[in-house]
């Protein structure tokens, strides 16, 4: 498409831009860009920084393919592949559900599995969904310098029906747990922003400090906004977020005090002004679990002190939000928000109703089992999601899991234990959807809905599997490390994460997003399955042994086919009787000189001998050819 644009004649371009200007003037809804940064001290002496950039293109067909702020690469993607909704995330490190929270909107939206995760909903007929997905993976792969194109193969993605939390049959989901995330993925992501990282909040993204963090997740969410009007195309919403968890440099000697920090100490940079193209540009500081009642209103209190007076303070049920606008900051007066703790403070984050962990069971290269353990957390918030239908209080949990084909899962071995007692009836398991894997063709998928009693302490799900064998060229590099099973997704359909603000917040996109109800979900660990791996480091041995076997086999086979023992004996006897040594020598000698077989009427032996000689030669040639072919075969295989 880029080529298409480039080859377009220039006069046409000018004309188009003129037309665009005309259309732009007449339209009252403009493209909007807003940037925000949310900072949040975490209970385990770390600080979470969440960058949020939102780019809206209004529903209109008058713009054609041209945009003022909205990145062209993305809009082309949308038009070409008819993407309705899409989310792409690059993550390094693990989200600590216990300390960093599990049921607030921030964690349920930004706690992503390790590596790359991509899902997309398409607006095409069913038959074209797979093709669109494949093209999309390639396009994204080029756009973000990542190996997303590996999701193209049908064995690496799945089509969840309801377990993913989005009921669409045009949804495709895939993840690459082994993808390493680095600056080369961040740079193209920043290119989509109007100010890149040159100005505004994104200028804080100093690469060494961003990648030094304990958790790093870069996310891109795209969705189409239907205008509802006939004839007008749908608008686009692009949300780009970067979530990092940083450890502030602890200079204080006091061990129990939370570390104090400022933006410049966290990132090594300051904000020196907003991105001029942004409609709103805010910094938020979220404080949770404050002990002192006065802390809920004052930015300078006995517990902590902020370096800048907030523009606005918002209160939520369990936290306080300080809002800053960075409009006023400039080169001479940079915005450097700092937090200084004065009293030791301890609090805990809101947790998901159940904490999920997944692990492998068994040992050896033959079989094993996958277990998912759900443990009740000490969350007071459990009440909110209780479903009191039928007079019973229950927690619903959806589990969505993809199994690669080389992990051959026996679905009949599914066992569910609730509070350490095996649960055979379908009392707990409400719904299950299984699509078995096909060898080398498609991956298996399991979606299940559990309905656990509220007073449950722990629940365990185990399922057995056999380890498959891969063809020699299917092994990835570093195959001896093992193979990954992508994270399972546990979501709680009855639990919704939202921040409960009283105020109207439509002007603050990040907060209005948090105010919306979102599904509480958590990803489990990635698992590493050791499979039988051939010894790749010794192809020489393989070649040697194969050649020996070939030689032995063909040698004995040819011998058995060619030699006729009885005939030879008869021949030797007759020769002993009839021909003397000298005579035979003479006849053969003359034959050699003449260059043609001996025509001796007395015995047919020389003829057979010569024919044997020629067949011997022939067989030798064949043998060499076979050996060469074998060599070729194995050397290409290696």
């Amino acid at each position: 498409m880029a080529g298409l644009v480039l080859t377009r004649p220039i006069p046409l371009l000018i004309l188009q831009s003129f037309l665009l200007a005309v259309a732009f003037g007449s339209n009252e809804v403009e493209e909007e860009f807003s940037e925000a940064l949310l900072l949040k001290p975490l209970p385990d002496r770390k600080v979470l920084a969440h960058f949020h950039f939102e780019n809206r293109a209004p529903p209109s067909n008058s713009h054609g393919r041209h945009h003022h702020l909205f990145p062209k690469a993305i809009s082309q993607l949308v038009q070409k592949f008819r993407v309705k909704e899409m989310e792409l995330s690059f993550t390094q490190g693990r989200w600590n559900h216990e300390h960093w929270g599990g049921s607030d909107p921030l964690s349920s939206m930004n706690a992503k599995p390790v590596g790359v995760e991509l899902w997309a909903v398409f607006d095409v007929p069913h038959s074209q969904v797979d093709a669109s997905w494949k093209n999309l993976t390639h396009a994204l792969s080029g756009l973000f310098c990542a190996s997303i194109n590996y999701l193209e193969s049908s064995a690496s993605y799945a089509a969840p029906t309801w377990g993913f939390g989005r009921n669409s049959d045009k949804l495709r989901y895939g993840s690459l747990p082994r993808e390493a995330v680095c600056t080369e993925n961040l740079t193209p992501w920043l290119k989509l922003l109007p100010c890149r990282d040159k100005d505004g909040i994104s200028a804080l993204m100093n690469r060494p400090s961003v990648y030094r963090g304990f958790y790093h997740s870069q996310r891109l969410y795209l969705s189409m906004v239907d205008s509802g009007e006939e004839g007008v195309g749908s608008g686009m919403l692009l949300e780009q977020t970067l979530t990092v968890v940083l450890q502030p440099d602890d200079v204080s000697v006091e061990k129990h005090l939370q570390p104090s920090w400022s933006l410049s100490s966290l990132f090594g940079r300051n904000v020196v002004g907003k991105c001029v193209l942004a409609k709103s540009s805010n910094v938020y500081l979220q404080m949770e679990g404050l002990a002192h009642p006065e802390a809920h209103t004052l930015w300078k209190n006995a517990e902590f002190e902020l370096s800048i007076k907030p523009d606005r303070t918002l209160r939520e049920s369990s936290s306080v939000l300080f809002i800053y606008s960075i409009d006023k900051s400039s080169d001479s007066e940079p915005f450097d928000l700092g937090l200084t703790w004065k009293l030791p403070s301890k609090w805990s984050c809101q947790q998901a109703p159940l904490h999920a962990s997944r692990f492998l069971m068994g040992s050896g290269n033959e079989r094993g089992a996958i277990a998912i353990l759900l443990k009740a957390t000490e969350s007071q918030d459990k009440l909110s999601g209780r479903d009191l239908t039928n007079g019973r209080c229950t927690i619903k949990a959806n589990i969505f899991q993809i199994f690669p084909w080389y992990v051959k899962v026996y679905y009949h071995t599914l066992q569910i234990f609730v509070d350490q007692q095996q649960n055979t009836s379908s009392e707990v398991l409400k719904k299950i959807n299984v699509s078995p894997s096909t060898d080398k063709m498609s991956s298996g998928m399991m979606e299940m809905m559990l309905e656990l009693p509220c007073e449950v302490k722990s629940a365990a799900i185990s399922i057995e599997y056999d380890k498959g064998f891969l063809h020699i060229d299917e092994y990835p590099p570093d195959a001896n490390q093992g193979f990954d099973i992508p994270s399972a997704l546990i979501s709680f359909p009855d639990h919704h994460a939202s921040l409960d603000f009283k105020e109207e917040l439509s002007t603050l996109p990040l907060l209005s997003k948090f105010k919306d109800k979102s599904l509480v979900r958590s990803y489990t660990e990635v698992l590493l399955v050791p499979l039988t791996t051939p010894d790749f480091s010794m192809p020489y041995n393989v070649i040697t042994i194969t050649c020996t076997v070939f030689a032995l086999y063909f040698g004995s086979l040819l011998n058995a086919l060619r030699r006729r023992i009885g005939e030879e004996e008869r021949f030797l006897k007759s020769k002993g009787k009839k021909t003397g040594g000298l005579k035979q020598l003479l006849s053969r000698f003359t034959a050699k000189i003449r260059g043609r077989p001996v025509e001796s009427p007395s015995s047919d032996s020389p003829a057979t001998r010569s024919s044997i000689l020629s067949t011997k030669l022939l067989f030798k040639i064949i043998l060499v050819a076979v050996a060469a072919a074998a060599w070729q075969f194995f050397s290409t295989d290696m």
């Binding site: 304990f214 962990s357 692990f359 040992s363 570093d478 698992l527 791996t533 035979q584 050699k592």
Partner: protein, 701 residues
């Protein structure tokens, strides 16, 4: 050109067409040659086999780090004195605590757990039961079973492990490295507590480093019921947990630990650290133990890394276990001196031939080799690391002996620093490893911490030892057939190929007997009441011998004492016996090479030498008498109990009579408790072959 042709033709004709007689193929010719001269060859091969075994210390190669990713010692140690003083503080606290408090609470575990969580680790406690010896004959070779069927659980006796996990800050949590410090919380001495100093210093460092890519688990194993059991209990909970209600969790006590077990991905490697006694040398000593069950070894690279760091970075004196009594043996010294002299002579001939080593080195090497061979053959792990091997995890035990008395605080700090730096280096190397250990050797014998013999070399000795067996079997079979055809008339001609059948029946019967005798201890151990090992061994011996008598009575031809020569010709019997021994040894060499090697040293001479003593005694010639004496001595030594007594005697423990039986029973019990294949070998290969040799010895021919 033409003259050359002529010459060639002449040669060809002379060989090919000159004689009308058909020559057999060369390979057949060679076989016939070997079989017809089998006595000479068997002596030559067996001697060469023993010789090759003695030469092994000479053929040992220097170890090298095969996997490049390990890069041991390439990073500067980040361990600070603050970390070490944390460790020292923990040790002090534990020692003070144990001085002031008596009894067996879990307070020490709590103390350690507190330290761990202060460092930023996730801490949990695990209760486990001491495991009895549950011998089940069918559980050999089966995987590590979960211990759910323990029957009655007593809440009074259980151990409590403490484990702490440090999550790698930027890691993906797929892999982990385990560090184990076993400690007896009731009777643990001051030296043992020092291992906490090392581990805790290291842990405090690892909690703040950023280079970790694998999670680190520190397991403090409660070794009041032995070193192995707590580790295996923890591993079995880690890998094969039972989701059902465990009986232990019903015991209510001060420690509420239900459901708190945490995991951290696939275990990549494990290190067991123990501090043990005072070093006899001037330096601190580090002993490496690597043998796991059934002669399995960890990857050589793991030992290499530890050895490299300990020698070249931390200046430890590294050793592996050796048979001390061999160091003073004069004959081995003589062999060493001879080899040294040969090496010197060879070097004068050609300076490039460098195979001679000093006699002292040879002595050390062979003592270590003997210990390595013995530990592998026994099939019993030499430390808690053995539990990891059951889950295909490479693990070794490091036993550190400081050179100072336990009270010396000044030296202690430096000792912790060096110990923790060694572990830090090792963990950093393993952490660098992207793939699991696969690059280096798994089958090897150690002759010193820095020298090894790979499988390709040490199997030569075994191959030479067992090579005469098929030859002798074939030659004996041919002999036996000839005598049989001569004795009977031509009517037996058509049955020529079935002559071995009767002998085979006898061999099979005795092997079956061996199998039953192997299973008997299971039933004996089920006997009610508390039986002493001596009583049990007596029961076993009586049942076995009565079974043997029953076999002799019921199966014709089995008895060596029957008056008429009803049974098969002894040569055919011996031939089949030897074939069975050959097959048994070859199978065993696949399962546990060291067992097969030692077994071959005993079985091969016995099987080759044994012959009926009656004719020899009757003939009265010196040579025959010597032969008879030889075979009798060999058969006596070949009896497993006898060999056990002799080896005990060599180690300086005199055992006679019933106590021997008791000891033997205990020994066997330990073998089956560890699922050692050596037990199966003794019962199903060695014992039947020995019985058959006995039959041949007393054959009425």
């Amino acid at each position: 050109m033409s003259t050359e042709h002529r010459e060639k033709e002449e040669e060809e004709v002379k060989t090919d067409g000159g004689s009308p007689k058909i020559k057999p193929r060369p390979i057949v010719q060679l076989g016939i040659f070997l079989i017809s001269h089998s006595p000479v060859f068997s002596v030559v091969f067996s001697a060469a086999g023993v010789m090759a075994l003695l030469l092994l210390p000479l053929l040992a190669k220097n170890t090298y780090i095969s996997e490049n990713a390990l890069m041991p010692g390439s990073a500067r140690s980040m361990l600070s004195h603050r970390d070490v003083s944390d460790g020292s503080k923990l040790v002090n606290d534990i020692q003070n605590f144990r001085l002031n408090h008596e009894g067996q609470g879990v307070e020490v575990q709590r103390l350690i757990g507190k330290y761990m969580s202060e460092m930023g680790a996730e801490v949990y406690y695990q209760k486990f039961q001491p495991d009895g010896n549950h011998f089940h004959p069918l559980h050999f070779f089966s995987g590590p079973a979960s211990y759910t069927d323990l029957g009655n659980v007593s809440c009074a006796s259980y151990g409590v492990n403490v484990a702490g996990i440090i999550r790698a800050p930027r890691g993906d949590g797929k892999e982990s490295i385990v560090l184990v410090t076993p400690y007896d919380f009731i009777n643990g001495g001051d030296y043992e507590a020092l291992s906490f100093g090392i581990a805790s210093s290291l842990f405090s460092l690892l909690a703040r480093v950023t280079w970790l890519s694998k999670d680190i688990i520190w397991l403090v194993a409660d070794s009041r019921y032995g070193d192995y059991r707590p580790v295996s209990a923890w591993l079995s909970e880690y890998h094969t947990p039972s989701f059902e209600v465990s009986d232990l969790s019903k015991c209510d006590d001060e420690l509420n630990i239900s459901d708190s077990f945490r995991r951290a991905g696939t275990v990549a490697a494990a290190l067991v650290v123990k501090v043990d006694g005072r070093s006899e040398r001037f330096e601190d000593t580090l002993s490496i133990y690597a043998e796991a069950s059934n002669g399995q070894m960890p990857n050589l690279d793991l030992i290499n890394v530890v050895n490299y760091l300990a020698v070249h970075r931390q200046g430890f004196y590294v050793k592996v276990e050796k048979v001390v009594s061999l160091l003073s043996s004069s004959w081995l010294k003589t062999v060493g001196e001879i080899l040294e002299a040969v090496g010197k002579v060879a070097r004068t001939l050609n300076p490039d031939w460098k195979f001679g080593i000093p006699a002292a080195d040879y002595l050390e090497g062979s003592a270590t080799l003997a210990s390595s061979l013995y530990s592998q053959a026994l099939g019993i792990p030499t430390g808690p690391h053995g539990a990891f091997r059951d889950y295909q995890v490479d693990a070794i035990t490091l036993k550190v002996s400081p050179r100072f008395p336990p009270g010396n605080k000044g030296r202690q700090h430096e000792f912790f620093l060096r110990g923790a730096q060694l572990l830090e280096g090792t963990i950093r190397s393993v952490n660098n490893l992207l793939e699991k250990f696969h690059q280096s050797f798994f089958l090897y014998l150690l002759t010193s911490p820095g020298k090894f013999i790979s499988v390709g070399v040490y199997m030569i000795a075994f191959a030479l030892l067992v090579a005469p067996l098929p030859m002798v079997a074939a030659s004996l079979y041919i002999d036996g057939c000839n005598t049989l055809t001569n004795a009977t008339d031509n009517s037996a001609e058509n049955l020529k190929s079935w002559k071995w059948l009767r002998a085979a029946k006898q061999v099979f019967a005795l092997h079956l007997l061996g199998f039953i005798v192997t299973l008997l201890p299971y039933f004996i151990s089920q006997l009610p009441g508390e039986q002493s090992p001596t009583n049990r061994s007596i029961v076993w011996a009586t049942t076995s011998s009565s079974l043997l008598l029953v076999t002799f009575v019921t199966i014709p031809g089995c008895s060596p004492f029957s008056s008429r020569p009803h049974g098969a010709n002894w040569t055919v019997l011996k031939s089949v016996t030897i074939s069975a021994a050959f097959i048994g040894l070859c199978l065993m060499s696949i399962i546990n090479f060291a067992t097969a090697e030692i077994g071959a040293l005993l079985l091969v001479p016995m099987c080759l030498m044994v012959r009926p003593i009656k004719p020899d005694l009757r003939s009265g010639r010196v040579k025959s008498l010597l032969c008879a004496l030889c075979s009798m001595v060999l058969v006596t030594i070949g009896f497993p109990v006898m060999f056990f007594a002799i080896s005990k005697g060599l180690l300086g423990e005199g055992l006679v009579g019933l106590s021997l039986g008791g000891e033997f029973w205990t020994w066997l019990e330990s073998l089956w408790a560890w699922k050692s294949a050596t037990y199966l070998y003794i019962g199903m290969v060695h014992l039947p072959c020995w019985l058959l040799c006995l039959c041949i010895l007393f054959h009425p021919s």
